[in-house]
């Protein structure tokens, strides 16, 4: 058997006292790096603004920066030297703490440096050139670059949690990019609406506000594109990147799109049914609503195409998430509608704006309902192929869990209001008045739970094998390369956690995917070693644990 123990990548890290040692050194390294970076950026900031500050008595500030840089800096360098030595790294490389340290520090450094640089650029557009604030961006960009280099190092980079830091960075870039674009578009639309309604506007020139938002949009887009395309996060199939893809497509972008659409619809409904409030305050969220819907749709469409190329599991998880988010909007909308209806049961001194409340609830119900109808397709909900969707049971259990949580909270509120009403000796209508929000949500939750309970019962009654039976807990696969297709196929067939050990010397004519999957058929063990050998041979060895 070709052994891989000579490669440090596959050597499991020694635990026990070594874990404690690693934890302490990484925590100390993180602390000293943060302190040294803040000290250095303080000193650099003073250097940049040397001829600008006319009177400065800030000796304590200078002393803090000097102490941070000159005490923590060398300590950080010493700690890093201890960690980065060949001997230490050979022991620590496979430890989970090494990539965890790198993920945390690169994400913190990336956030600090991008926020500092982009806000500095946005401020420069408004106030002109001012070097103050630039230093933080430069120093933390260097910290980020340094950690990025360690991550990518061929001999010392971590062997676990691959793809986590770039995936998080791409999410940060996407958030800046989409947020900046929404803000720029919203400013333009609001300006057009102001011009149309002849409002008196007191603000900076429009081009300036839009340009400031565009700085974030472009900066975010570059950051995102570099990670997504150049570093290949787009094609990563690591757990972390996949979860992120499902989150962006099925939850984040859809929620932004639906929320924008709901606000837009409620504004249109208010305009159509006669104004209850001044037009300027009604049109206030118009720009954000249109821009949110547009950018949300853009992000959703783009990521849906990537999801379409992924495995059945990823596609199913995304479509269940979209159905869940749509359902949440529709149910909230129905709750608000009931709330508005109950508001008419009491005779108030001041009426408030119940009509706006109703229209907002109806908008959420309509938008969420239509999206739910399109994503869940209730007429085909119990077809055998739908019942067999991976993750469907998990989805139903999540729905029941959330319903139970909402029911618990609303019942507590209703109970509290009931006792308060009994003890206060108020009128009956005051009880409904004070608990109508909770009553609305409780009704909506009850309907959601009832429908999904019927789906659950129907699924149980059908003879479709809902989830693949897990006969194998863990698979350790020895093969010539990290064949992702093979990895995915074994994972899909067994539902087990798969670890790949790569041979130091490749063999000729390795067995194909179908042969490996077929060899695992009927095997039942907690841990199975699979060796993909030469000339199409597959060895399947059940292990004790």
């Amino acid at each position: 058997m070709t052994s891989t123990t000579s490669s440090p990548a596959a050597t499991p890290a020694v635990g026990g006292v070594q874990t404690v040692r690693r934890f302490i050194t990484y925590a100390l390294l993180a602390a000293t790096v943060i302190i040294a970076a803040s000290g250095l950026s303080g000193l650099l900031d003073r250097l940049f603004t040397l001829n600008r500050i006319e009177v400065s008595y800030d000796n304590y500030g200078l002393a803090t920066s000097l102490a941070s840089a000159l005490v923590a800096g060398p300590l950080a360098a010493l700690l890093w030297w201890l960690i980065w030595r060949d001997g230490t790294m050979a022991r620590d490389r496979a430890s989970i703490l090494w990539p965890v340290y790198l993920v945390i520090m690169s994400t913190v450094a990336l956030l600090v440096f991008t926020i500092a640089l982009l806000s500095w650029l946005a401020d420069a557009i408004r106030y002109g050139w001012n070097p103050a604030g630039l230093a933080i961006g430069i120093i933390w960009a260097l910290v980020w670059g340094w950690h990025f280099w360690m991550w990518q190092h061929p001999a010392k980079g971590p062997t676990r949690l691959q793809g986590a830091a770039p995936a998080l960075a791409s999410l940060i870039g996407l958030t800046y990019g989409a947020g900046g674009l929404v803000s720029a578009l919203a400013q333009l639309i609001d300006a057009a609406a102001d011009a149309g309604s002849r409002s008196v506007v007191v603000s900076d020139p429009l081009w300036q506000i839009v340009a400031q938002s565009l700085v974030w949009a472009i900066g975010g887009a570059l950051l995102w594109r570099w990670h997504w395309v150049r570093l290949g996060v787009r094609n990563h199939t690591f757990g972390f990147s996949t979860v992120l893809l499902v989150f962006i497509t099925g939850i984040g972008s859809l929620a932004v799109f639906a929320f924008g659409l709901i606000i837009l619809l409620s504004i249109l409904l208010e305009l159509a049914t006669g104004l209850q409030q001044p037009i300027a305050s009604l049109l206030d969220p118009l720009g954000t609503a249109i821009a949110g819907a547009a950018v949300g749709a853009l992000v959703f469409t783009y990521h849906s195409r990537i999801v379409a190329e992924r495995s059945t599991g990823v596609r199913a998880a995304t479509s269940l998430s979209t159905a869940g988010v749509s359902l949440a909007f529709a149910a909230s909308g129905f709750g608000v509608t009931i709330n508005a209806l109950l508001a008419t049961s009491s005779d108030p001194l001041l009426a408030g704006n119940i009509r706006s409340l109703l229209l907002a609830g109806l908008s959420a119900l309509v938008v969420g309902g239509v999206l739910w109808w399109l994503t869940w397709r209730p007429r085909e909900a119990s077809l055998p192929e739908r019942v067999a969707t991976p993750g469907r049971r998990v989805f139903l259990v999540i729905i029941f869990g959330l319903s139970a949580l909402v029911a618990l909270i609303t019942l507590l509120v209703i109970g509290f209001q009931l006792f308060a009403f009994l003890l206060d000796g108020g009128s009956g209508e005051s009880f409904i008045e004070r608990s109508r929000q909770a009553l609305g949500l409780l009704t909506a939750t009850a309907l959601v739970a009832t429908y999904h309970f019927m789906i659950w019962r129907k699924d149980r009654a059908s003879d479709v094998d809902i989830e693949p039976a897990h006969r194998i807990g863990r698979v350790t696969l020895v093969s010539s390369g990290t064949n992702t297709e093979l990895l995915e196929a074994v994972r899909a067939a067994t539902g087990a956690r798969v670890t790949v050990l790569q041979r130091a010397e490749p063999v000729t004519r390795e067995p194909d995917v179908a042969a490996v999957v077929a060899a695992l058929d009927g095997v039942e063990a907690a841990h199975v070693l699979v060796v993909a050998g030469a000339k199409g041979k597959v060895a399947v060895i059940p292990l004790v644990s």
């Binding site: 129905f334 209806l341 008419t344 009491s346 108030p348 009509r355 109806l362 209730p378 005051s430 004070r434």
Partner: protein, 152 residues
């Protein structure tokens, strides 16, 4: 089995009918209902209603006429800000000789999505002056004088 297959569809149909019925009722009731009933201004609730309406309409002269003379003597007028979408319902009224306490539930909704509103309970206290009820203290949003909220 066929009965089973029909069950979720039937449940869905029932749920959708309930939702449609609620929506229609809500639209009809909310849109056909007139404004709040006018309460007799000789009662404490009536005074609270007239005073609050005047404050919401920024008609401060009318509002002033409902404030008690004792408060007006030392009145430092509060900053005015527009009140939008304020809803107020009476919870209870207690009359004790020449003073009265009206407990109300207040809800301040924002213009956009209905979820972002907040509600709380508060008190109006009134005193009888020359046979009429006059407002002494109010919830903070409806104060006429700065020190009105701290009296009573």
């Amino acid at each position: 089995m066929t009965q089973d297959a029909a069950r979720p569809d039937r449940t869905l149909a029932v749920i959708l009918s309930v939702i449609a019925a609620m929506v229609v009722i809500a639209i009809v009731v909310v849109f056909t209902r007139g404004g709040p009933t006018d309460i007799d201004p000789s009662t404490p609730e009536g005074v609270v209603q007239s005073y609050s309406r005047a404050m919401v309409a920024s008609d401060f002269e009318t509002a002033r006429s409902f404030v008690s003379a004792g408060v007006l003597d030392e009145c430092e007028e509060a900053d005015r800000s527009p009140l939008q979408g304020l809803r107020m319902t009476v919870i209870s009224t207690t009359i004790d000789g020449t003073s009265a306490v009206v407990k109300v539930s207040l809800e301040q909704g924002s213009g956009s999505f209905g979820g972002s509103s907040y509600s709380y309970d508060d008190l109006f206290t009134l005193v009888e002056e020359g046979g009429d009820w006059k407002v002494s203290t109010t919830p903070w949003e409806l104060t006429y004088c700065y020190d009105q909220g701290f009296r009573g």
